[in-house]
């Protein structure tokens, strides 16, 4: 199985790990991520204004590229996933944005939200299946108590993201179980880490990250996993605890016994 893949800006730089571990894991699970050509940065945040068109075009290009190849579009970064899914929803359901974006783009055939956008976790849940993943795990992470950190971008707004229950998600917990570890459910797992505010106001982000980590530790987590480079940065940089934070793909590669293949590269 081959998917179109949109890595996004950070996965080519500061979050190379998130990307590399995903690629080797995908191979081990029997699917391929084919990077779309000449992708452009999604912008990191979804442009909320109803009159924002130009800022959505990078996403439309990626979405249309996948459509032309007849593939589903996979992302790993929570932010890219959020932006692509919401722009796709606009292209499908908001006539004004669809018309204007298509007028800009001059595509062979107008794009109207035909592409299915999947987060890598959704591929694992909906295309591979937890049971299959379990079978492929050669190195179960037994005894590890892992808190899933969802943040805000994966889940909200629930109606459009359609990713999981926005208030009581379980996809990451199911993932943690599938790789042989024990999920720790804690109430701040879907609260914001501060996001972009940490550029100018680190203290605000610090307060939020500490709440998140205190809550996770309080419920017995030894470590956190995330799918977002910015959450990772904030949780590492703007908190007083040294609770380790990993990209979920790193633990996946470890459980599948392919972690070393990344180091070899």
């Amino acid at each position: 199985m081959k998917y179109s893949y949109y890595p996004g800006c950070t996965l080519k730089n500061k979050a190379e790990d998130l990307d590399a571990y995903a690629r080797v894991s995908a191979k081990a699970l029997g699917f391929e991520l084919e990077e779309i050509e000449e992708w452009q940065c999604c912008g990191g945040v979804y442009p909320l204004g109803t009159d924002e068109i130009a800022t959505k075009l990078a996403s439309v290009r990626a979405l249309n590229d996948a459509k032309e190849k007849g593939r589903e579009l996979v992302t790993l970064c929570s932010a890219c996933h959020h932006v692509l899914k919401r722009v796709n929803d606009d292209m499908k359901n908001v006539e004004n944005i669809r018309t204007k974006a298509n007028n800009y783009m001059d595509l062979k055939e107008p794009y109207a939200g035909e592409t299915t956008v999947l987060h890598f976790l959704e591929v694992l849940r909906d295309r591979i299946g937890w049971d299959t993943l379990k079978e492929k795990v050669t190195n179960p992470l037994k005894g590890k108590k892992i808190g899933a950190y969802y943040g805000c971008l994966l889940l909200r707004p629930g109606k459009i993201m359609a990713f999981d229950d926005p208030e009581n998600p379980k996809i990451m917990e199911d993932f943690i179980r599938a790789i042989g570890a024990e999920p720790v459910i804690y109430p701040y797992r879907n609260e914001c880490c501060g996001g972009y505010i940490s550029l100018k106001e680190k203290e605000l982000s610090r307060g939020m990250c500490e709440k998140i980590e205190d809550s996770a530790e309080g419920f017995g987590a030894d470590m956190l996993i995330t799918a977002c480079p910015l959450c990772m940065y904030n949780l590492n940089k703007n908190s007083r605890t040294d609770l380790p934070v990993y990209y979920f793909t790193e633990l996946l590669a470890e459980a599948l016994g392919v972690k070393d293949e990344v180091k070899k590269q």
Partner: protein, 129 residues
């Protein structure tokens, strides 16, 4: 039409939000992680737009405290989505000359070696035109 009225209509247009749907339950303010940092609170954004007091709104520091975490959007029982109103007010400021909250000159000082590109990109897009 007064300038305030025009601006209020512009905010409604950009955000796509109908503030009259609000029933003043305060669920947005109850959910907001930045509440304590805001001078005008999320639920007040709705009434400021209804009362056409945009002058106060665009001066509010709340514009730069909203995290776009969508907790208010997700939980609003009336589908009012205060976060979108805040963003529209921010747009009104940023679309004016000199309205940027973040300038390129500031960046070198803010950088640290671990900063992910995503942070810079997001901040640029949220804080300036």
């Amino acid at each position: 039409m007064t300038n305030q009225k025009k601006q209020a209509e512009l905010i409604q247009e950009i955000s796509g939000v109908n503030p009259l749907k609000c029933m003043k339950c305060g669920k947005c303010s109850a959910s907001c992680p930045s509440y304590n940092e805001m001078d005008i609170k999320p639920h007040q954004f709705v009434s400021y737009v209804i009362n056409e007091d945009i002058e106060s709104l665009v001066k509010s520091k709340s514009l730069w405290k909203c995290l776009s975490c969508f907790a208010c959007v997700q939980r609003c029982p009336r589908d009012v989505k205060p976060g979108k109103l805040i963003d529209a007010a921010r747009q009104i400021v940023e679309r004016q000359k000199g309205g940027d909250y973040l300038t390129a000159d500031e960046i070198p000082e803010l950088l640290d070696p671990e900063i992910p590109q995503q942070l810079l990109v997001s901040a640029f897009r949220r804080y300036r035109r």
